[in-house]
Symmetry: C2
Subunit: 386 residues, 2 copies
């Protein structure tokens, strides 16, 4: 520092960046790695240990390129002399999975570097910020279950419908064993691929089972916005067609074609966001079908709900409600946590009433998939306990 003090110019050069580092502009740590969701061989986008993301898009004649991630305005990219657009998010992103897209000269496109994931009723780019607890959904050297695509007949919609079915690792070993079933729903604008791709539901289960932390069970994931014609508009969403498909068609098909325990005590339903709303509506109406209920960032169940649903306390073995911490407002009624009442207070009221009620908050996550991966990880060990 002594030599610097003798040179005013040098001081100002050095103190400039130092000041910025103490305020809004942290100095970047140069440990960039390609996002794990990049297409094979693609180097960009990259993430570093500060949870910054940087992007690289080739579009030499473009006038403007920006990335819809990194705060309200997104991240504008700047064009280099080589015609390549680059830029880094102004601040750290939350841990976990994020959907995003590019805006190129006013048009919406995906980043050609990344894999695509179905969200917002379209296939979007995805980026993964490594989470400190990512081990629970990592692909490890443990016995793996399978994810199967099935096409089941649906008379009510006059078509074969698709579902994905997770069967636990030993499913094909012992042909006499039967398993409980969790029906697990995606959110608005997503589809039946979400839970086993961006959700890693299969890996979460494989790892929990390998550690002996959960009973093995089957998971069934199908498309929850059955009134396809209205795609893109949640306001026009009508649950009746999906309720029919799920309760009258899919469940009987699964029970006929998989080795399930097909009674109410061994059937659960859970869903994220809109899937949570579906779960609440359908389970409360069909308590002879479902015994375990999971609402992930998708409302909660109040004492009034219980009061208005005959047999609830006797028939329901678990009410699991979860949110990402960033979803919860300053108090009751605030933030997304608000619809249907304050979820924590509701959970506590149910517990006071003697119902097995669990409330979980995912730390430092928003209405995004890391909240839901963690929620499934918390929920699974609570299901189907005798």
């Amino acid at each position: 520092m002594k030599t610097m003090l003798s040179n005013g110019v040098l001081i100002s050069i050095l103190l400039g960046p130092l000041c910025l580092a103490q305020t809004s502009q942290p100095s970047e740590v140069n440990d960039w790695k390609p996002s794990t969701l990049n297409q094979p061989g693609q180097q960009y986008p990259q993430v570093n240990s500060q949870r910054l993301a940087r992007f690289r898009i080739v579009a030499p004649q473009a006038q403007s390129v920006s990335v819809g991630l990194g705060g309200r305005g997104g991240t504008p990219l700047t064009k280099g002399e080589d015609g390549v657009w680059t830029g880094t998010t102004a601040g750290p992103l939350d841990e976990g999975f994020h959907y995003y897209h590019l805006t190129v000269d006013g048009g919406t496109f995906n980043d050609p570097g990344t894999l695509n994931f179905y969200g917002s009723t379209r296939w979007e780019s995805g980026i993964e910020i490594p989470a400190h607890d990512q081990d629970f959904y990592a692909l490890k050297d443990v016995p793996h279950g399978r994810v199967q695509q099935i096409l089941f007949p649906s008379k009510s919609t006059n078509m074969s419908r698709r579902a994905f079915v997770y069967t636990p690792p030993d499913y094909d070993k012992d042909q006499t064993q039967r398993y409980p079933v969790l029906y697990l729903q995606h959110g608005w604008g997503e589809d039946e691929t979400a839970w086993s791709t961006q959700g890693h539901a299969n890996l979460i289960m494989d790892n929990l089972i390998a550690e002996g932390k959960t009973k093995p069970f089957i998971i069934v994931m199908t498309y929850g916005m059955t009134n396809d014609a209205k795609i893109g508009s949640i306001n026009s969403f009508n649950i009746a067609p999906f309720e029919t498909v799920l309760v009258n068609e899919l469940i009987p098909y699964i029970d006929a074609n998989f080795r399930t325990l097909s009674d109410q005590p061994h059937r659960a339903m859970a869903g994220l966001s809109m899937g949570g709303m579906e779960t609440k509506t359908i389970t409360l109406k069909h308590l002879d079908v479902f015994s375990h209920i999971g609402l992930l960032s998708g409302g909660s169940i109040s004492s009034d709900d219980v009061k208005n649903t005959p047999g609830f306390a006797k028939k329901v073995k678990l009410v699991f409600v979860s949110y990402g911490s960033r979803e919860l407002g300053g108090g009751p009624g605030g933030g997304r946590g608000g619809f249907g009442g304050d979820p924590k207070a509701n959970a506590e009221a149910l517990r006071q009433a003697g119902i097995n009620s669990v409330f979980y908050v995912s730390p430092n996550t928003a209405h995004e998939f890391l909240s839901w991966r963690r929620s499934l990880h918390e929920l699974a060990p609570l299901l189907f306990k005798d």
Copy 2:
């Protein structure tokens, strides 16, 4: 016509388009429909009964947008006053599935209207031109098999590897029945998703089985470019790592975890393009493992190959070789059909030598997936005949 003749201006207006219709510019038939591979709710791209395709891309500030389909130069789009780019292919496309992408201001992007398919070592846009014979791979109201994702341990590559397994409709009904297995490989730049998405292998099998035209069998599809580090370069491709994964790891895993007939007479291998080359190399080296061989747009087997492979005539129950008609040149050695010699002549020579040798040509298709859908449809009924 009489009134037109009395008005020179009217005649020239009408004859203009008529002349064009007789030469290069056919008049468009206005029966446009969204491509069946569009993302949910997306209206563009569209195709009509003349096998033309038209595109619509929103990019108001872009300088140039073109589509890499429709002849050598692709299809340039033009910007309307609303900032929307539109254009129609200059001529008809072949029936079936085509990969493509957009060039927007010099950058490569996918069409936000379509689903993506893994080809050319990247996820590309896809469009489907309805084929006159598309019924054989249509989703129908017949019993459906399942496509399962499995993660199998691979010591040689020190990771869990992914494969997709098709099991026929009755697989879970009769737990005593065992099935033959076809190992089915994708082409260069594609991956293990290709055959069950753009290939419709599962639907082709479901339909054939429903019609009683093929024995039910299992199909296993895994990634064939095992030396991942060299992705994108076929010249550096080394088959040894894949051969180890397939023969020493995947096959034993499948035989241990599925109800297979695990002897040589009940095991086949087939592949398209590079997957055909892999099939030839691996089967000829392992005739105690495979009895049925299918090369789809991927070379052929010559009399010399037979001579150089001890036991060939006795061990091999079928050699199936196919090409799209547009792949075949004017004669021996011409076109793609050429590598490894003229495939038709080779097939005939094998037949003369008493080998069960079948040569199939898909009409009016090139090195694209309709050739391979049709080839699988021809191949399946020939497999595992006693």
